[in-house]
């Protein structure tokens, strides 16, 4: 089983991103589970969401304390939340930032993947909403879900031109971290 923890701020769509991973993983013929950290959501406040992917039905329902992967949608969270807490040394943390890895001074043995998702989202979506872009980066950096399935999940949620724009953002992020 792979466990994923999302860190974002209220309004950035971290919960939606977790849901989309669960839908995409199921498309890949795996079992999945996604749930929010049940906070009292306020725009801008730090929020968490969780997802699990496994080859067998998932029974455990506690929150995730030792994730395989962490996705950070907003680099300013690093000042207020220990985003790498419990992250497995062989895991990965994917951070939306224009800074380089060393400047972030993260306390983790896990691989740090940086991506300027805000820039990609502004270019491709015209808005600094990075949750879908970060899913592209997650696909590219981990290979845990296929790009086809995440695209399918996206089109199930966002139709028409908005869906296409999101696919573009995802593709750019996917290629950005896969190199």
């Amino acid at each position: 089983m792979k466990e994923i923890r999302f860190h974002g701020r209220g309004g950035q769509g971290a919960v939606t991103a977790a849901e989309l991973i669960a839908i995409a993983a199921f498309e890949d013929k795996k079992y999945s589970q996604a749930f929010p950290a049940f906070g009292v959501e306020r725009r801008g406040a730090p929020v968490m969401a969780f997802a699990r992917i496994a080859n067998e039905p998932i029974r455990v329902r506690s929150q995730i304390y030792e994730p395989d992967y962490v996705i950070v949608q907003d680099v300013t969270l690093l000042d207020v939340v220990d985003v790498a807490s419990g992250l497995k040394p062989e895991g990965k943390i994917i951070i939306n930032t224009d800074r380089n890895e060393k400047d972030l001074k993260l306390k983790t043995k896990a691989k740090v993947v940086t991506i300027d998702a805000t820039k990609i989202a502004l270019e491709k979506l015209g808005r600094p909403i990075v949750n879908t872009t970060m899913l592209g980066a997650f696909c590219g950096a981990t290979g845990e879900i296929s790009l086809e399935s995440i695209n399918k999940a996206i089109l199930g949620r966002f139709s028409g031109a908005l869906g296409e724009k999101n696919l573009n953002a995802i593709k750019t992020a996917f290629e950005g971290v896969s190199q």
Binding site: F35, V60, R61
Partner: protein, 392 residues
């Protein structure tokens, strides 16, 4: 076909498949998404029913009294403060023998204000004359919905019922579920055709004044119907399994009970995490098993006696406290076993209050405490689990 959807959506869809005639629901976190999806179904023409917008939970359940007494299949849902506000109406519904079905989303009761999960709300309605069945996961909550209509509407039962599901943990989770097949539900669940209904041509009174010479008999008959439902719940559970291919064990279910020395007894969504913990512990040679309470009211005393007869120690894990005594299920279970030949020590833990997360490590710690009882006897019969040291 399985699909990954939010728990609340799945429940709303299960309700839709049961074709209620009248729905009246007042939104409250974390039950709100159920209401939203139901009203969407009605607006989109996917659910053809009377949809009553109300100003409170008191009104939602009250309006269903009229609808149900007029012969309508009815549905509502609430949680926590909403259920507390319904308290007076709960007793009216069961006393009038109206088979209303409600999804009770389990949430803590104020104060302090908490929107998060525990089961204090439904446990507080334990004696209100409603059947209460607790779901382990979203699929079980879906599948319970038509079963409860079938149980409640049986002319020999005519008792309202609650499908209890943990707030957020089950209402807000996205996981793969199998939707109900509408056609199959129609075969499984016959239309509601009550013998006694409100009818201007043949006027009747429901829930009217009763003097002391008959009140006892009303309560006796209600109690008898509740007792009869024990068998009905088992029967409907089996029938559901035959039609839909999914079964949950009737009144109770068991897990890893062969040769189990330490037996955990609990209900609700915590069971998934407990099963994982049991698998871990079993692989380390710890003989631990689980008895899952599905039906809490009526209380499955006989089924529990049978399931627990070989245990060396029993640990009840639950999300409620009866202030000044202990947790409710613990008391009920001890009571059920007292006049039997079972003399097994029983301890209890109140966990997950106001949404505190319960993980595998917590289950392991409770099993360890239970294991000590096996060797050294009971040191603490009941504890509120892992209270911060500054409060001890």
């Amino acid at each position: 076909m399985m699909k990954v959807v939010e728990g609340s959506y799945a429940i709303a869809d299960a309700v839709r498949c049961c074709s209620p005639d009248v729905v009246s629901v007042y939104p409250i976190t974390p039950q709100t998404h159920i209401v939203e999806h139901l009203s969407e179904f009605v607006a989109d023409g996917k659910l053809d029913c009377g949809y009553i917008n109300v100003d409170s939970e008191f009104s939602s359940l009250s309006s269903l009294i009229g609808a149900s007494a007029a012969g309508a299949r009815t549905y509502t849902s609430t949680t926590s403060q909403g259920l507390a506000l319904m308290f007076e109406v709960l007793y009216n519904v069961s006393g009038m023998r109206l088979p209303i079905v409600m999804t009770t989303v389990n949430r803590a009761l104020s104060a302090p204000l908490s929107i998060w999960n525990d089961q204090q709300d439904a446990l507080g309605a334990r004696d209100s004359g409603w059947i209460q069945i607790y779901a382990e996961n979203v699929q079980e909550a879906i599948d319970l919905t038509p079963q409860l209509y079938k149980i409640s509407e049986d002319p020999k039962i005519l008792t309202p019922s609650m499908s209890c599901m943990d707030g957020f943990i089950l209402t807000h989770v996205y996981e793969p579920v199998e939707f109900l097949d509408e056609e199959k539900v129609r075969e499984f669940l016959p239309p509601f055709r009550p013998e006694y209904v409100l009818d201007p041509k043949n006027p009747k009174t429901f829930g009217a004044f009763t003097d002391p010479s008959w009140f006892t008999e009303f309560k006796y008959l209600q109690h008898q119907a509740m007792q009869r439902s024990l068998e009905k719940i088992e029967e409907v559970s089996k029938e559901f399994e035959e039609v839909f291919g999914r079964g949950y064990g009737g009144l109770i279910d068991t897990y890893a009970m062969e040769d189990a020395e330490i037996v955990l007894v609990t209900m609700g969504s915590i069971i998934g995490t407990i099963k994982e913990a049991i698998d871990e512990l079993r692989s380390e040679g710890v003989k631990v098993g689980l008895v899952k309470i599905r039906c809490y009211r009526p209380f499955p005393a006989e089924a529990l006696k049978k399931a627990l007869k070989d245990a060396n120690v029993i640990a009840v894990i639950e999300k409620d406290v009866s202030m000044g005594y202990e947790s409710a299920l613990l008391t009920d279970l001890k009571g059920a076993l007292y006049n039997s030949s079972i003399r097994t020590p029983i301890i209890g833990f109140a966990v997950g209050l106001g949404g505190r997360d319960v993980g595998i490590k917590h289950i392991r710690s409770m099993v360890e405490k239970a294991s000590k009882v096996k060797d050294a006897g009971i040191e603490s019969e009941f504890e509120i689990f892992e209270v911060k040291p500054e409060c001890l």
